[in-house]
């Protein structure tokens, strides 16, 4: 039994790991909250403005209007960016207590700095860190985890661009910090129900690492010494 477990760990450690990740908050002077999140070579910069005045046409009487913009590095934003924007917006709306700021606007701008796989999860992480930096009230934190299933059926977390291309299925989950529930999921490719559940379970495990990182970075930020 002990042996079998060891063998499994050896195998999993080769495929299942989060790349080194880093984050810097409050790096831009203009936005109310900003962060850059780096996962391996993938890097996203996020800026949050708000709560601020809102256009009358976009006003919602009982909560804040959240706008999310994702800007690609080359060219104009297209359908792909729109789809990602929606994923991020719905996740943020689920986490933010937007009813505390009725009839106001929150805008979140995400600038892609470099894409080397797991872009959407990096966007989600950068968004959460920026919202935290802006000091907006949130019911819970969230993080994004991308899982890929390769041709042999193995699960790879936080895949690089190359791994994404070689994968059979690709899924991204947003997971909340309180109950580790799935806030958003988006998938590509074909997979079985069993594989989906496995990926969710892996993502929940991986999310613990990310939330620990959030915790560490906030602790560092509000510590007196480095």
């Amino acid at each position: 039994m002990h042996n079998a477990r060891n063998a499994m760990e050896v195998e999993s450690s080769s495929t299942c790991a989060l790349r080194e990740f880093g984050c810097e908050q409050s790096l831009l002077s203009r936005p109310d909250g900003s962060s850059s999140f780096i996962q391996g070579d993938t890097s996203v910069l996020a800026g949050v403005y708000g709560p601020a005045d809102v256009k009358v046409s976009k006003e919602i009487h009982d909560r804040a209007t959240l706008e999310v913009l994702i800007q690609p590095k080359v060219g104009m934003s297209g359908v792909r960016e729109r789809a990602q924007e929606q994923c991020v917006r719905e996740t943020c709306e689920a986490a933010l207590l937007s009813s505390l700021h009725p009839r106001s606007s929150l805008s979140l701008v995400l600038q892609i700095i470099h894409d080397d796989g797991s872009l959407l999860s990096c966007c989600l992480n950068a968004a959460c860190m920026a919202l935290m930096d802006a000091g907006l009230p949130m019911g819970c934190l969230f993080c994004g985890v991308t899982c890929a299933i390769d041709r042999d059926g193995r699960i790879v977390t936080d895949p690089t661009m190359q791994q994404e291309k070689e994968s059979r299925a690709l899924m991204t989950f947003a997971i909340d910090s309180t109950e580790r529930k799935v806030l958003m999921s988006t998938t590509k490719g074909s997979f079985s129900v069993n594989e989906l559940q496995q990926c969710i379970a892996v993502s929940q495990r991986a999310s613990e690492k990310i939330f620990q990182f959030y915790r560490d970075s906030v602790r560092r930020r509000y510590s007196k010494t480095l």
Partner: protein, 433 residues
Amino acid sequence: MKETPLSNCERQFLLKAIEEKKRLDGRQTYDYRNIKITFGTDYGCCIVDIGKTRVLAQVSCELVAPKDSRPTEGILFFNLELSSMASPAFESNRQSELLVKLNRLLERCLRNSKCIDTESLCVVAGEKVWQIRVDIHVLNHDGNIMDAASIAAITALSHFRRPDVGIQGEEVTVYALEERDPIPLSVYHMPICVSFSFFQQGTYLLVDPCEREERVMDGLLVIAMNKHREICCIQSSGGIMLLKEQVLRCSKIASVKVTEITELINKALENDRKVRKDGGKFGFAESMPKERITALKTEVAPVEMTDIEEKAKEIICRTEAPSEVVSSPVVCAPGTGQVGEGLQNSWGLEEVDALEDDVGEEREEQDMREQLEEESRNAEKGDVVVISDSEEEDVVILHEGTQVKHVKKQSVDSQQLAPSTAKRRRRRKKQVI
């Protein structure tokens, strides 16, 4: 979102400070803020910081057909974007006056000064040339976007490498970066913009204005120059009259600044080249400041997945099996398909069919009897008698259909007609199938 207006107090304070040769951030009149250049992992990608102003540039290339007027020249394309991240007043996808001005100035500074050899970008004359596209995103606006953008653009262009191309007869092969070493662009010189802001109708002059200073300035002079002291482009805006001496003095200051900045760019490029050659780590992840209290970095974090399979199985076992409600599709009318019961398409169906809906399936057994009765009744009326399912049935249905329409409202008895006709119709369908 609108820009917060500058109060009169602030305005007066700023102007008074400028009169006393003092600046908000403690700089001297001719000082630049700190310039920092960092490169990304891609070729042709860099971030330039001038103080708090931050600009991202990315160069990309693509094979396109050349312009008819210049069949042997590559195309340079500049696209500066004022992201709404940079300032709440900027709106994405909107052509503001400032945006147009900056884009035009950038084009004049870099394209019209012919700093890039466009002829070397030609692959097949008149058919295929490289189009070099420079995307510049302003990430944080703290004044002097133009200088930052021009430094970012020329640095990115010098850093960029395009894929090698092989031509054998008619065939053009573009080699991937792994196959053949990519080729850098040939950069003749590096034009760099230097901005001067004027206050009090040109009495006071400041180099590299910050955002607050830009708001109270009267006029702006931008000089693009290279390190050979050649002026590539000059533009004065804001509508102030400048004396010849003032312009000459500005050009002298610009030449000093440009030499400094060019040296900085070359040093940054050299550093990056060295790191890449030595196989060290490079990219934005490496240039992230580690000593800051707001920044944190972790190592690769393994994710334990020992009991993942059991967990997945458990969840699947716990969920109820989906109830098998999906019956075979029922075709209610030709051309429509349906799964299950309930919603039915009533488009373009005759009233007879609509009536059938009301009656339902439980009446099917009765239909046989009713049909017999009805047939005998029809015979009494002297209509066409239908004895069996024959081709003549069509006639009967049409006739009866009309009959049904006007009898329908009168009695229950007449309703019985409807199912029978419908029934017969269905039977005919079966035959067709």
